[in-house]
């Protein structure tokens, strides 16, 4: 039998979470950008599937950084990573 692995529990996978729409709007307003101007992540990405994010969502990644201790990054979930709008 194959063992089910939750990749979110792996120590090399930083914390991922879906940003609630209200917060996401606030974030975009603060940065003065459209969602597509954020870095993209494929909807097929294992982490995206694991946390149940859908195309159009914005993901928050909280990871350890050698320079800043902890760093927050955002990704915009898209269907096709190679095609620019």
């Amino acid at each position: 039998m194959r063992e089910e692995i939750n990749i979110l529990e792996h120590e090399l996978v930083p914390r991922h979470e879906v940003v609630p729409p209200r917060e996401a709007l606030e974030l975009l307003r603060k940065l003065g950008i459209e969602p597509w101007q954020l870095p993209w992540i494929s909807a097929d990405d294992p982490v995206v599937k694991a946390i149940g994010a859908k195309p159009g969502d914005i993901i928050r990644i909280i990871r350890k950084s050698p320079t800043a201790g902890e760093f927050v990054a955002y990704r915009y979930v898209v269907v096709e990573v190679t095609k620019k709008s």
Partner: protein, 891 residues
């Protein structure tokens, strides 16, 4: 016209884009349609020197003479774009650049029915597949399908449509096609080729990877030759009045001549052999007109023997139209010569030869405050140095001062005039050395006009430019606008770049003699007489009083540390080990130490410690100069380098610092003990080999027995042995020895180099292995095959002082060459990587909110470097260095 506002990003500035560019082959109809005249005669000019209608320089092909109006578009020389003409070829010829494609078409289609040699059913299948791939935009797969179809069609033995057997087609470079039949090898004439290509259907062309609309295969065989406009091949009139035509014009005349002759022969029904001969000649001329570097045919030459330039030669290569002209950038107000060092210049100065200063100019507007000064410059004119070359009057008239009465011009000078004056001391200039890999490869320097013919710079700024003086040349640019000069002074001046954004430490700093000098000056044993102390201070431009002497009786003496302290700010505290103290024998733990290797500065007084590479050297973060610059600014840093560093070199000169052969010779008993050490290690290596032969050697994990042996031997003979020898040798090398001073202070060389000179070189390696390549089982014929002893595989028992024996020299050269190859490979690879990185990153920008964004506003990082720290202004990568802050205030 659209205006752009501040918030515009690249994506909303661009309103129209070129979506794609497509290249095709011109059809004969197209060529005739765009042509304004047929070229029919070989005569170019008539007796009056006017171009003949129907000649290659026909007036209708564009106006190029001044005052001439174009009969086609009515424009003058400046605005006439030029017009194409054409030559009707009597017989078709092959276009040399397309022979490969023609060969493919001939091979893949049937001789008799002209269809692709693939069964109809399969053909339909491929056509559908091709359409699907096109729709999906899978161009790589499409290319592979074409390749597959081509190979398949070419290897079919008989035509599946009409059953005709396929004959082998051969291409004899550069443009002859042959058909191989059982009995003979028949040459295909261009006419036959064209007929065959015409028969291929549009669908089949598409299947084979062609484009039936924009590049029909039969257009690859020329029936009409376009004649480029006169502007593309201008004639040059020499001073003697003799007109010299462009290479292309010469070639076109040749083509017309042969073409006319061929036409005559055809019309008069000449024998076939004669026609074919002329035809072949026409083919040759058209081929060399297009590309005069095709292999297989002799290159076309002038009567003088000079090689003619074909169309391909104009476009090709580094100096061709694309790389040389379209992508080439050229500037005015620049100079380039050999560089040479001048330590008496300031670090931010550049010495400019007077000859160059008389050519490079700066436009200066006349005002009531500078009018007298500028009058003097105008009076001096272009020949005498502080002078001027041009005066521009408010009405825009430009007067060259070379040919006019300068006195009158100087008199007429009024506010509002612009004088293009020579560059003077204190002007700003950009200085550059290629390759410009860095932002510090271009820095602003203050001009100092000097005699002689080289550009001069302070040797301290060599490292950022990576310059030396073995013949290097550098470029100088003079900013012309007030904005450019302000920007250069504020952002690009040398002192703004002493600290590098790479790691926050100084890139500019003492090297070689500066460090030896700093040591010699600050070492405890140096005491200076009043005369010497004054001499040293004079080199710095110091204006104050001499401090109280450190020694009063019997004579007054000053220490070097006292002199250095004169230049340190009164509130400066610093404590750090010197480079000297990095050797365990000379390390100081606290203030109370005889070695003097702990540098302590309190309240701006150098109390203890010698200055060396760790304090004043380049690329030494958290060093004395680094903290001085961080705490007191770049300007102070420049002042420090312009004053104290000059004192260091002067010390070096006064001391007469030098090294000789004698300084490297070790005593007899030292040599004996070294030889004994070598003997011991050699014996150990011998034992290892013995063990290996007996099969008793234990292999290292993950290695074979042979590899383990090699590793063990290298360890024994290089690392271990050299360390042991170094230990013996250091006892004989004291700090009074200049070689040791240089090695220990970090001025030049290191302790390993010392052992290599006085002791032995040790085991030589190539790619981390002992030397093995050469003959079978041995490197040189001086050894027995299979000898794996130390001497046979590149062990060198002598040092440079004793000299190497011939075999050893060969080993050393073998290992030395590896180093040379490595640098050659590394530079090319890192250069290419650099180019790609720059291309990828050049449009990224840090915005005011700290985010890094692309030109179109896409976010790359939410905060620059994830911590928002500018490494140039940080404390060696960290935002705050608490230890340093404490040291700074508490001492």
């Amino acid at each position: 016209m659209k205006t752009y506002s501040k918030g515009d990003t690249l994506s909303n500035v661009l309103t129209t884009r070129v979506s794609r560019v497509k290249f095709g082959i011109m059809s004969p109809d197209e060529i005739r349609k765009m042509s304004v005249t047929t070229v029919v005669t070989t005569d170019v000019y008539d007796n009056d020197g006017l171009p003949i209608d129907g000649g290659v320089m026909d007036k209708r092909m564009g106006a190029i003479e001044p005052g001439e109006t174009c009969p086609i578009c009515g424009n003058t020389r400046d605005s006439c774009p030029g017009h194409f003409g054409h030559i009707e070829l009597a017989k078709p010829v092959v276009h040399v650049s397309f022979v490969k494609h023609i060969l493919v078409y001939l091979k893949t289609t049937c001789e008799s029915c002209g269809r692709i040699k693939i069964p109809e059913e399969e053909r339909q299948e491929y056509l559908k597949l091709l359409r699907d791939l096109e729709e999906l935009g899978l161009i790589y797969l499409k290319k592979r399908l074409h390749e597959y179809i081509r190979r398949k069609a070419a290897s079919t033995a008989a035509c599946p449509h009409c059953g005709a057997p396929s004959k082998k087609i051969k291409l004899e470079k550069p443009y002859s096609f042959y058909v191989q039949t059982e009995t003979e090898l028949r040459r295909l004439t261009p006419s036959e080729i064209r007929e065959r290509l015409e028969k291929i259907s549009d669908e089949d062309v598409a299947l084979l990877g062609g484009d039936p609309r924009d590049a029909r295969p039969e257009w690859m065989v020329l029936t009409v030759l376009p004649v480029p406009p006169r502007t593309a091949r201008p004639s040059i009139t020499l001073e003697t009045g003799i007109r010299s035509e462009d290479d292309l014009t010469h070639k076109l005349v040749d083509i017309v001549r042969v073409n006319n002759r061929l036409k005559e022969h055809v019309e008069s029904g000449a024998p076939r052999a004669i026609i074919e001969e002329e035809w072949e000649l026409l083919q040759y001329h058209v081929a060399t007109y297009i590309d005069n570097e095709v292999s297989g045919i002799p290159v076309a030459r002038h009567r003088s023997g000079k090689v003619l330039k074909g169309i391909a030669q104009r476009l090709k290569g580094k100096e061709g139209r694309f790389r040389g002209d379209l992508r080439g950038k050229r500037v005015d107000f620049s100079a380039r010569t050999v560089i040479s060092p001048d330590p008496s210049l300031g670090v931010n100065e550049v010495g400019v030869p007077e000859d160059i200063a008389k050519i490079l100019t700066i436009p200066e507007r006349v005002t009531p405050w500078n009018i007298e000064f500028l009058r003097k410059l105008v009076l001096n004119g272009p020949e005498k140095w502080p002078g001027a070359n041009y005066v521009t009057r408010p009405d825009g008239r430009k007067i060259s001062l070379k040919y006019v009465d300068r006195k009158a011009v100087a008199e007429s000078l009024e506010p509002g005039f612009i004088v293009e004056r020579h560059i003077l001391d204190g002007d700003i200039a950009l200085f550059n050395r290629q390759p410009s890999l860095h932002r510090i490869s271009v820095m602003a320097h203050v001009v100092r006009v000097l005699p002689y013919k080289t550009l001069r710079l302070n040797p301290l700024v060599c490292p950022p430019y990576n310059a030396d003086f073995d013949g290097d040349e550098m470029n100088l640019h003079i900013p012309q606008s007030e904005e450019a000069r302000a920007e250069a002074r504020l952002l690009m001046l040398v002192e703004k770049h002493i600290l590098t954004p790479r790691y926050g430490g100084p890139v500019i700093g003492g090297l070689q003699d500066y460090i030896s000098g700093a040591y010699l000056l600050t070492v405890k044993s140096t005491i200076l007489t009043k005369e010497k102390a004054a001499t040293l201070l004079a080199t710095t431009g110091y204006k104050g009083d001499l401090p109280e002497p450190a020694i009063l009786k019997p004579n007054e003496y000053w220490t070097g540390k006292q002199l250095v302290s004169l230049f340190l700010p009164r509130d400066f505290n610093y404590k750090r080990n010197s480079k000297l103290g990095s050797a365990s024998a000379l390390r100081c733990i606290d203030e109370d130490c005889p070695h003097d290797s702990l540098v302590i500065i309190k309240k701006g007084v150098l109390l203890e410690g010698v200055l060396d590479k760790a304090s004043i050297g380049r690329e030494e973060p958290e060093s004395l100069v680094h903290w001085l610059i961080k705490d007191y600014g770049e300007d102070f840093g420049r002042y420090f380098m312009d004053s104290v560093y000059k004192m260091f070199v002067r010390t070096c000169e006064m001391h007469g610092f030098t090294m000789s052969y004698d300084h490297l010779i070790v005593s007899k008993d030292a040599r004996l003990s070294i030889d004994k050490l070598i003997g011991e290690e050699l014996k150990e290596a011998e034992e290892l080999i013995q063990l290996y032969r007996e099969g008793k050697l234990t292999p290292r994990p993950g290695k074979t027995l042979e590899e383990s042996l090699e590793d063990e031997i290298i360890d024994t003979l290089s690392k271990k042995l050299l360390d042991k020898v170094a230990e013996v040798i250091t006892q004989y090398f004291k700090l009074s020895n200049p070689v040791v001073i240089m090695a220990r202070t970090g001025a030049r060389g290191n302790p390993v180099n010392l052992t290599q000179m006085s002791g032995l070189l040790g085991q030589q390696t190539v790619r981390g292995k002992r030397l093995v390549r050469g003959y079978q089982g041995r490197m040189l014929p001086h050894f027995k095959p299979g000898d794996i002893g130390a001497e046979a595989r590149g062990f060198i028992k002598s040092g440079f002082v004793d000299g190497l024996d011939p075999l050893e020299l060969f080993f050393h050269a073998a290992a030395g060459r590896e180093g040379l190859i490595d640098t050659a490979v590394r530079t090319s690879q890192s250069g290419y990587m650099q180019r790609r990185l720059i291309n990828a990153l050049q449009d990224l920008r840090v915005f005011y909110d700290g985010t890094v964004r692309t030109a179109s506003g896409e976010i790359v990082q939410l905060l620059y470097g994830e911590d928002g720290v500018d490494p140039m202004k940080s404390d060696h990568g960290k935002a705050v260095n608490v230890d340093r802050v404490i040291e700074k205030f508490l001492g």
